[in-house]
Subunit: 552 residues, 2 copies
């Protein structure tokens, strides 16, 4: 039996129309280094309409065409966020931190027809141009490109403001099927090629509602939010869409992501909320220690992207009265997956163990833990598994390319369609997620899992150990066993002594038999231990491995 309710699609143009009328006076402030650029949701709605006309009439963009942005967090980028999906095209936000090789590959793979680019980023884009196969138009936002572009630039070059000038300030936004593609974002390909996630109007709309729920960010038009997280990084965690739904004011840092400017914009523009990865907050904290500023306007900052050191959370609360709220998500989850609100009725001290978890799932995110031996692990706070999630704003596949089928690699999607997150952790009986390892770093030993991170943390607590990494190596009897690679501070310590030290904290069957000493550990570009390199060195016989025999 069908209901008698209206069948109104959940589309991004509805969010825009709502935000630019009901919340027309809400503000978008963009940091410029000098006097901030100030505009309203109303004016942004009008300019989004102009941009849609410009793309349609001026550049011939049609439904499903990909329009890329290589832009910082600024109000022009917000215009593109609404204009491109609103008209039925697909917004492709380019991650300006990717190596040139990957950026080129991604633009070609997405078959972007247009790139909107901040003029400050032209030096980054220019070298790529000869190898871009599908881009017909570059639209430069901001100053004149000057000599940043080659004279024989193949894509036609347009000035953003000239392109918009004189176009109508309203647009007859099409009534799209809510499952239509709206935006896309590639995950950085640490292994293999980058993979594109294609968000739908429906997923963006529902995610925006979730962001605005009291249990998530819980902001209203009385708030101002500062997304330091880039708009090319999972849609700045959905904030630009979410704010137009409820009128939250938006403060955008443009390219001024350094601790000094951030501290200044917070003190001057007084946001009540901000969102960023831990390294940004660590930098801000150091800055504030050196040059104190009043950031008490911030009620809450949301931290995600990687686990937040508890010391950082404590420092913000104690020194600045700012509550740090941890959240978990990934490109494939739009990204809101869980938020670490503690349960009701606890003291601040009792809340702490909950606040350092990855948090609880909202109703839109179903979760389960794929257990080492098959089946699913119980939510007992002890049994680990790989986190799998399901929900209307979670990916079912990756973009296969312009005319290709979507990709559903087995290691990323279960046969029944759940996303395999690649994260290993436990869930408590009351639903709090604690992540411990990346699945690829876990040691699968005889149907049980050994956490490499746990062993590393204990080893690094030893006074003589400077760095320690634990990787899985093949083992005839157990499938895999741990190998510990250690860099010592001064002189070496016998492996047996380190094993005994480990044995005080972890189960005996988890103790590594294989040990190697290294000068220092290989690291990734962001300073994490590069276990891929370490595994390759082991495979190539380049590590000097000692095998211990543990007594039973």
């Amino acid at each position: 039996m069908l209901s008698t309710m209206q069948d109104v699609p959940l589309t991004i143009s509805r969010i825009l129309q709502h935000g630019s009328t009901i919340h027309g006076d809400s503000r978008i402030t963009t940091w410029t280094g000098g006097e901030p650029h100030r505009t309203t949701f109303r004016a942004t709605g009008q300019r989004a309409a102009q941009l849609a006309h410009a793309l349609h009439d001026g550049l011939g963009i049609r439904r499903d065409d990909r329009v890329a942005t290589l832009m910082w967090n600024n109000s022009r980028h917000v215009e593109a966020y609404f204009a491109v999906p609103g008209m039925g095209a697909v917004l492709h936000t380019l991650n300006l931190r990717l190596p040139a090789e990957q950026l080129t590959w991604i633009i070609n793979h997405a078959a972007d027809r247009v790139v909107l680019v901040d003029h400050t980023l032209l030096p980054l884009l220019a070298p790529l141009l000869p190898r871009l196969e599908t881009v017909e138009h570059l639209v430069v936002v901001g100053d004149d490109p000057g000599d940043a572009l080659p004279a024989d630039c193949r894509p036609r070059v347009h000035d953003y403001e000239e392109l918009l000038a004189g176009r109508p300030t309203t647009y007859d936004w099409p009534e799209l099927d809510e499952r239509t593609a709206a935006a896309m974002c590639y995950t950085s390909g640490t292994t293999g090629e980058p993979k594109g996630v294609v968000y739908s109007h429906r997923s963006v709309y529902l995610h925006s509602m979730q962001v605005n729920m009291a249990e998530s960010m819980g902001l209203t038009d009385k708030d101002t939010t500062l997304p330091v997280v880039p708009m090319f990084h999972v849609n700045a965690w959905g904030l630009p869409h979410a704010v137009f739904m409820t009128g939250i004011n938006l403060l955008l840092p443009d390219r001024f992501l350094q601790p000094g400017p951030l501290a200044e914009m917070i003190e001057r523009e007084r946001p009540t909320h901000a969102a960023a990865v831990p390294t940004i907050w660590q930098g801000l904290l150091t800055e504030l220690d050196a040059r104190p500023r009043d950031i008490s306007c911030l009620a809450t900052v949301t931290i995600g992207g990687s686990a937040c050191p508890p010391a950082l959370m404590e420092a913000f609360e104690q020194r600045h009265g700012v509550l740090v709220r941890q959240a978990w998500g990934m490109t494939e989850t739009s990204p809101l997956g869980s938020v670490a609100h503690p349960p009701a009725g606890l003291t601040a001290e009792q809340e702490w163990p909950y606040r350092v978890t990855q948090g609880r799932f909202p109703a839109g995110v179903e979760a389960r833990l794929a257990a080492p031996g098959g089946g699913f692990a119980p939510w007992d706070g002890r049994s680990p598994g790989e986190l799998e999630v399901r929900g209307p704003w979670i990916a079912a596949a990756y973009f296969g390319g312009a005319d290709a089928e979507p990709l559903r690699p087995e290691d990323k999607f279960s046969p029944d369609g759940w996303l395999r997150t690649g994260d290993v952790g436990v869930i408590s009986p009351d639903g709090y997620l604690t992540l411990t390892d990346r699945a690829k770093d876990v040691i699968k030993s005889g149907g049980e899992w050994i956490s490499s991170v746990e062993l590393e943390n204990v080893l690094m607590a030893h006074e003589s150990v400077a760095e320690a990494a634990v990787i899985a190596v093949p083992d005839d009897k157990w499938g895999e066993r741990p190998l510990a690679a250690v860099a010592f501070r001064d002189g070496p310590v016998p492996y047996g002594a380190l094993c005994a030290f480990l044995g005080e904290n972890v189960a005996r069957w988890q103790l590594p038999e294989r040990w190697a000493t290294v000068e220092s550990l290989p690291k990734t570009s962001v300073g994490k231990f590069d276990k891929k390199v370490l595994r390759a060195r082991y495979a190539a016989g380049e590590l000097d491995v000692t095998e211990l025999t543990h007594s039973a």
Copy 2:
């Protein structure tokens, strides 16, 4: 181009599964007059599973079958709220305040196969039984029916607890299309037959998200909400569904809706939020004046159903520190249509003019004002029109009956599918709705509208007038013109003097030519002026009408 997101339907069983696991410890407390009945979301989830098994295996209920409830606000009713739609059947909540005639008509029209009935309501149901055509089973919740039911009762009679006993506490909830019917509610038919609105899983899910958004109720699992509004009245404004989405604790008054018990349960159980119609709050205020109690636990009460007198809002704030938040909605809007949160940056005094409006629309509710002369009225705070709304939780039609097509009466739905609310009002430039009249009470005079409510308010401010009602009467020249019916306090006042008094406050062309004096005005069962009766009396020539000639 399709997105790569998962296609997960928005269903009520997902809300239940989420609430009964992640928020399993959240509480449902039901007032009993004695020791309250206490349970958890976890236990309610288990009992909902048992009820679904009982309905399916015990009573043969299948997809789309209608299961009615004649119940107060209690935890058993919550079980039915989730079990019935969860299994794919349709929950039909019966309004126990309707006349027996209408209740019988509604049950037969919906073709209910089962009625779950609180034992305290059996005396109300028993007289209807001989004329119920489709009901096969009565399930009595609570005590033994005793002699409340006839010995030869046609539907089979079951005890709720016996029916559930021993059934499995989990249920394999089907993965339903989100547009499937979930629940239905009939509007009380003040004119013509009652009309059934059929909510879908999708509409309930989206409405629950909206209720939980910070801009609406904004509650979390740190809160306890007290829905005094009955669960047979537009799903208690969506609260029972909404609380399972985010773990808000639920306090339910059962049949104890009198001011005394309400005051006691608030003082003892300490809800942070409550929801009811103005008359309930008026009664509570009077009770608290007579017998003071501490209700300071209440941060906010949401008022809807009819316009809230500003004096009542002020009294709650000044005497009890409770913020009264006005909201607007109707059965056809699920009901959340607008909430009167003032804009940011105002003083308490400046907020007041916003708080007495019907409020602002959320992103899921599009609104327009159908103007008297055709087309749509501007949002200028002055131009009236009939409010029309559109959105994913708004009705497109009424239930046509078991095998009939849905009904789309022209006076309730526009040709392009918007709901005609029957409410007349204005919308300010910043999107605040102020309702003034019911559309049927507006006087349509020569392509302009005259507000009957405005004329009545001015007339009743005259010291000699006890009651005044203004109705539209046919007029050869203008189509309709106002007729004022007046009851005087003591002696009569010349109509010309009343006209002059009116003329100080309203435009000259709005002044009534036709006047009649009555002993007292006819009233409805809830004490409102019954203009339908007045119009009928005029049509039958029963009013002694004097016609004035206004000078130009």
